[in-house]
């Protein structure tokens, strides 16, 4: 006779999507922009990327070992790899190797494991690490390499690249410059006006990603497409990206209309890979964003507002990291106040009244 003694409740069947699949799909969505970034910035970027991902995984393994748990299943869920990947994408492509290691350590140990591991952290680990690095190592974190693709004659050779990543960059100025946003900020302090500053700005090159910037954050096109694919795959919901981008567009639009000499147009704001990366990949992090659709709209709008404020008036032109961390801190509050209405009850939880016939 058949006997099955362990009782189990429904659902006995399930949607076949595991945590591991979700993580890998996000990485898949990131890969076009990443591959393009690695190609644009050559061997040093490849080295930095590898170092950061490897150290993220090693730090995770170390922490799990400390906890006394089996390492392999945890590593296989891909969350540490994804954190390392996101962090690497936001680093300057020719940054020294130790920046990747320190960043990965901050992200995995301080950003995630001290809270209790996957799903427990308050802040987005990759952004926490990036902001900590930006404050601690401002020079290294704002030295942006020129586009120098793999296999181009002017690009550094494999051997030179090893030198760039592992023993520091010599003759900095020849290879580096400022990002668009950073450049605007600097030139404002020289009392120049926007139409003048942006003479050399190419919307098309920025859209494709042929510009100075973080390792994997230059291409608006590829990151945007990756994000749209994630929405299509139902991995992320549309609420956060849409409300974030709309808020930035709206605010910058209003200010640009009022004073186009000092306020960058919404197109320039949105035509940046970093904005796409934050909207689709960073702010949508499940763990650190609200649970409800309405909460997510509020969260996205808050991120957008803070990004605009920090970019426009703050000291850091790349302020998205700060904006996301601040809104991460507000997430428990948003979840406390914005709750779904329970069937048959009003918003306060009281039973609905019986309608009079």
């Amino acid at each position: 006779m058949m006997t099955h003694n362990k009782p189990s409740s429904g659902a006995h069947v399930g949607a076949n999507r595991s945590v591991r699949q979700i993580m890998w799909q996000v990485m898949l969505a990131l890969s076009p922009a990443t591959v393009f970034g690695l190609w644009c910035f050559g061997w040093p970027a490849v080295f930095l990327f590898s170092v950061t991902l490897t150290s993220a995984v090693l730090f995770e393994a170390f922490c799990i070992r400390l906890k006394g748990k089996a390492v392999k299943p945890v590593l296989l869920d891909g969350s540490a790899l994804l954190t390392g990947w996101l962090l690497a994408m936001t680093l300057p492509p020719w940054a020294p190797w130790w920046l990747g290691v320190v960043g990965a350590g901050l992200a995995i140990v301080l950003g995630k494991q001290v809270y209790g591991g996957l799903g427990q952290n308050l802040f987005n680990p990759a952004m926490l690490a990036r902001v900590a690095l930006l404050i601690s190592f401002p020079i290294e974190m704002t030295t942006w390499a020129n586009v120098s693709p793999l296999f181009f004659a002017d690009s550094p050779s494999f051997a030179d690249s090893l030198g760039i990543t592992f023993s520091g960059l010599q003759n900095l100025d020849a290879y580096t410059g400022a990002t668009t946003l950073g450049y605007i900020k600097t030139e404002f302090s020289q009392h120049r006006l926007l139409p003048d500053i942006l003479k050399d700005y190419s919307a098309v090159l920025n859209f494709i990603g042929w510009t100075r910037g973080s390792l994997g954050e230059t291409s608006t096109l590829l990151l945007g497409l990756g994000g749209l694919w994630l929405i299509r795959q139902n991995i992320i919901q549309w609420q956060i990206p849409v409300s974030l981008l709309m808020t930035v567009a709206l605010l910058s639009g209003v200010f640009h209309l009022l004073d186009s000499d000092h306020y960058v147009s919404p197109f320039l704001h949105l035509n940046s890979g970093a904005m796409m990366c934050v909207a689709f990949f960073i702010a949508t992090d499940y763990v650190t964003s609200p649970n409800t659709a309405t909460g997510q709209l509020v969260f996205g709008a808050g991120c957008g507002l803070l990004i605009f404020v920090i970019r426009t008036w703050g000291a850091y032109p790349e302020g998205a990291g700060f904006a996301v961390l601040l809104m991460n801190a507000a997430t428990p509050l948003i979840d406390h106040y914005i709750r779904p209405r329970i069937y048959g009850r009003d918003r306060k939880g009281k039973p609905l009244e019986i309608p009079k016939p």
């Binding site: 006779m1 058949m2 006997t3 099955h4 003694n5 362990k6 009782p7 189990s8 409740s9 429904g10 659902a11 006995h12 069947v13 399930g14 949607a15 999507r17 595991s18 945590v19 699949q21 979700i22 869920d77 969350s79 591991g117 996957l118 799903g119 427990q120 929405i231 919901q237 549309w238 609420q239 499940y286 763990v287 609200p290 649970n291 409800t292 659709a293 709750r339 779904p340 209405r341 329970i342 069937y343 048959g344 009850r345 939880g349 039973p351 609905l352 009244e353 019986i354 309608p355 016939p357």
Partner: protein, 495 residues
Amino acid sequence: MTGLFSNWRIRGGVHAEERKTSTATQAIVTDFPLPKKLYIPLQQHVGKPAEPLIKVGEVVLKGQLLAHSQGMISAPVHASSSGVILDVNDYPAPHPSALPIRMIVLETDGKDEWLQTPDIGDPFQLPPEDISLRVGAAGIVGLGGATFPTAVKLNMGRENRIDTLIINGAECEPYLSCDDRLMQERADAIIDGVRLMLHGMETHSAVVAIEDNKPQAFAAMTAAALPYPSVKVVQIPTRYPMGWDRQLIRYVTGKEVPVGCRSSEIGVTIHNVGTAYAVHNAIRHGRPLVSRVVTVAGGAVQRPMNVEVPLGTLIADLFNFCYVSPEKTARIVMGGPMMGDSLPHISLPTVKATSGILALTQSELKDTDEQPCIRCASCVTVCPAGLRPLDMANNIRANQLDAAVDIGLKDCISCGCCSYICPSNIPLVHYFKYASGEVAARQQAQHKSEQTKRLMEARQARLDRIAQQQKEEEEARIAAKKERDRLKAEQEATV
């Protein structure tokens, strides 16, 4: 982007893989060999168990009353075939616990001979109350799984002067197709049952709602309902749990049933298509509810089918008939795979609530490898009741059951959408069922301790009162003695 355009009347839900085709494409099997023994539980419904009125050894006919209903909410039980009563005793219940409950064991004589009942003529000439009485006497209960006595619902509908009767033909659970087949093959009888219910409730409009993944059932029902303007057949989107009565009521009428109310209080009553069919049989043919159509499906079933079986048939007999492979069976589920319960073994009877028995293989089951919650909030998105399963589970894990109740534990309908969707394989519904049971147990324990305390206090008060009384009597006695002594002394003095 689906969130933008979805109907506001549908909330949450999942679209689970249907897996209905293996049974939905073939006719209901009606030549199930009569089992040697039938195990008929006295409780196959919500409310009080029925009270047996037969003796062991008695010979009964098919459809004969075996146990009568007792109390306001209850239902009688009838003989599912003709034969001899072997025993009235405790046998394992078709429940995850398989704990013993009272059952009547009937040894069939193979004749399957019906009890003859008088013809009642045109039932629409009967007074409406008579319809409910006959439905009640036929032992009909909600066959969608809720097993609430149908007569009680008909009475409530009549008393509340409801305006719409909804007939639930959603059958949103994967695998199950018994209602689908019933609608395809016996549409006329169902529509007749619907009209009888309308008559019984003195209501003039019924809506039969069928999920749009059953076009043939819809066509058959539409054709059957064509002559009767009071019965409308509509298609509804296929989305689990569309068949949840309150979801269906909101979709069809736009009204939401307040928490703590019966749907009849807002003018709607909902019955299952199987129930309507049973009403037809009871009123037109005088046949009580003694059999039902059961879906037997799942990867371990070699001959999946819908089969009409007498109530009380052991699942083991059913599995033999359908060639269920014991080696392949990883889990036996009674009902659908979303809300159904796992059964520990198969020596359990089919009852009025049994819409399906599934023998699932390991590959069909959801992974049980539990991982940490990543707060993806899929469970919040799919919850049709508007709850936050992840927060409730967190509270329960920390043993903060009151906090879980505060955020809606009691509004959970155990539909299983959250467990279904969870990428971390967290058995959320299991948590909620555990917590609900625990909350009830704690309340009971608290009630008991309060009761004990009250008794203790009463006893103490009684003892105090007795002591006080004794003290007063003693004092009175001493005072009387003193008085006597004084009088005696006075007397002696005067003498």
